[in-house]
Amino acid sequence: MRLDIKSTNPTSTPSIPSSPNDSISNALDKPRRGKRIATWMLFIVILVVCSLYIDVTPYQLFVGLPEMGVLLKEMFPPDWSYLPTIWAPTLQTIKIAVAGTILGAIPAIPAALFSANNITPFKSVSLPIRTLLNLVRTVPDLLFAAVFVAVFGIGPFAGMLALLFFSFGIIAKLTYETVEAIDPGPLEAMTAVGATRIQLIVFGVIPQALPAFISYLLYTFEINIRAATVLGFVGAGGIGLLLNQSLGLFRYDRAATIIILTLAVVLIIDNASTRIRRKLL
């Protein structure tokens, strides 16, 4: 009996919207073209106005370009004798990134679980944590570093702490989105088995979300390695301090050595990490 209602509905509804739909799309066609042109115009106007306000003009590019040549000339040949000196700070940079990423990833796990609506159905818990995560992610890593240098003093600890917060924000956010998208079937099965909430997480959630979590951890590590190289500019440890010094002392040959070594490290780590991540997913 109920079926009758269902079967009449689909047949009667399509006939009505089909004609108005056509007229709506026709009516929309013309203004849409005008709108597109207007959007581009607005875009260009904003660009020009902004550039003028901050004195960004192609003129500066032409004037500055020869300077670039001078700089590059000074950089080569790089001062390879500087390599032994920068080896330790480079390693320190990597260590800062490793420690920051891992220590950030650990609290990211409970944060992700408490943010995911399918695991924590209480908005009173998930909402504050999500808000915190959003706040953490609005702060750039260098700002974190500058603040922590002010609090904990110059050195790698401040840098590590900056990366910790930064990693926590990203990993928790990406992970909770993954957790919300997992197959609910095994969770239902674990509930039916009589599992506690923690058992449900261990048996139903973690096996499903772990590969993605590790992938996010490596991805964040890639970002952190790059971020760690400039942490030294605000006194937060690593190779950035020496790079800043070399540039300040106009020792562009030394700066070149640092940049080349950093580039090599970043390339190797990026490559390895990408390979592992590809295998994981």
Partner: protein
């Protein structure tokens, strides 16, 4: 009394009526098949028995204990006693078959113990015996997603066995399997029902399967029990009444019977 439903009703938040004043008693060792159109409330009925769905009113008793009013560890203890088999198997795909079966044992251990992922030897033996009962012991150390659909469904049966459940609920257990494995899985369920005297309730949409395996057929229509009787009593006329229309060919697994039905209608 194994399972007893008293005036159970379920109305979903969107106003849809899932169950309407269901009164039902199921005895130990019965093999009950619930038939009805999709949307008739078969799944809702099954899921309210182990409280994957909360009913709106009424009471459900398992072994004389009310699951509708239980909570916390008491609810989990009742659930532990009820194995569930799903249409989509609901295994943890990325882990081994054995781990999947062992997950049926978590209700017997403290959270802390299972957190470390180490089960006692006895549990591993129970799990392996369960796998043996469904003839896939040799797959114990293979990842669950490497198995065929029929094998995965048998793993989920083994999981229910590892629970040492006295009741098995199977929600369309063969809907995503081919006809041959369908028979094998149904045979497994029947064998377990007979050998271990496990009360079994199965939702099916294949009428011939229902007749072949059930000791009792319950017909649902629009959330109400419209038939409850033996296989012999569930004639084509009765089924047509349950379905609100003549039975169609695709409601039979075996296509050779399809001709008979067309003849009847």
């Amino acid at each position: 009394m194994m399972i007893e439903l008293r005036q159970v009703s379920k109305t979903f938040p969107n106003g849809t009526i899932g169950l309407k004043d269901i009164n039902l008693k199921i005895q130990t060792g019965e093999f009950v098949v619930i038939v009805g159109l999709s949307g008739a409330g078969k799944s809702t009925l099954l899921r309210s028995i182990n409280r994957l769905i909360d009913v709106t009113s009424g009471d459900i008793q398992i072994h004389g204990q009310s699951i509708t009013s239980a909570s916390g560890s008491r609810l989990r203890a009742i659930r532990r006693n009820i194995g569930m088999i799903f249409q989509s198997f609901n295994l943890i795909k990325r882990t081994t078959v054995l781990n999947n079966v062992l997950s049926g044992r978590v209700g017997y251990h403290s959270t802390l113990r299972t957190l470390l992922g180490s089960f006692p030897k006895r549990d591993v033996e129970i799990a392996l015996t369960a796998l043996e009962r469904v003839n896939i012991r040799e797959k114990a150390y293979i990842r669950a997603d490497q198995l065929s659909g029929g094998q995965q469904q048998r793993v989920s049966i083994a999981r229910a066995l590892a629970q040492e459940a006295t009741i098995i609920l199977a929600d369309e257990p063969v809907a995503s399997l081919d006809p041959l494995t369908t028979r094998q899985v149904m045979d497994d369920l029947q064998r377990i029902n007979r050998e271990l005297n496990i009360t079994t309730i199965v939702n099916l949409h294949f009428i011939d399967l229902a007749r072949d395996y059930a000791t009792r057929i319950i017909g649902l229509r629009a959330g109400e029990i419209v038939f409850d009787g033996s296989v012999g009593e569930a004639t084509d006329e009765i089924l047509a009444e349950i379905y609100g229309r003549p039975v169609k060919a695709d409601e039979f697994l075996d296509t050779s019977r399809e001709m008979q039905v067309v003849g009847v209608t």
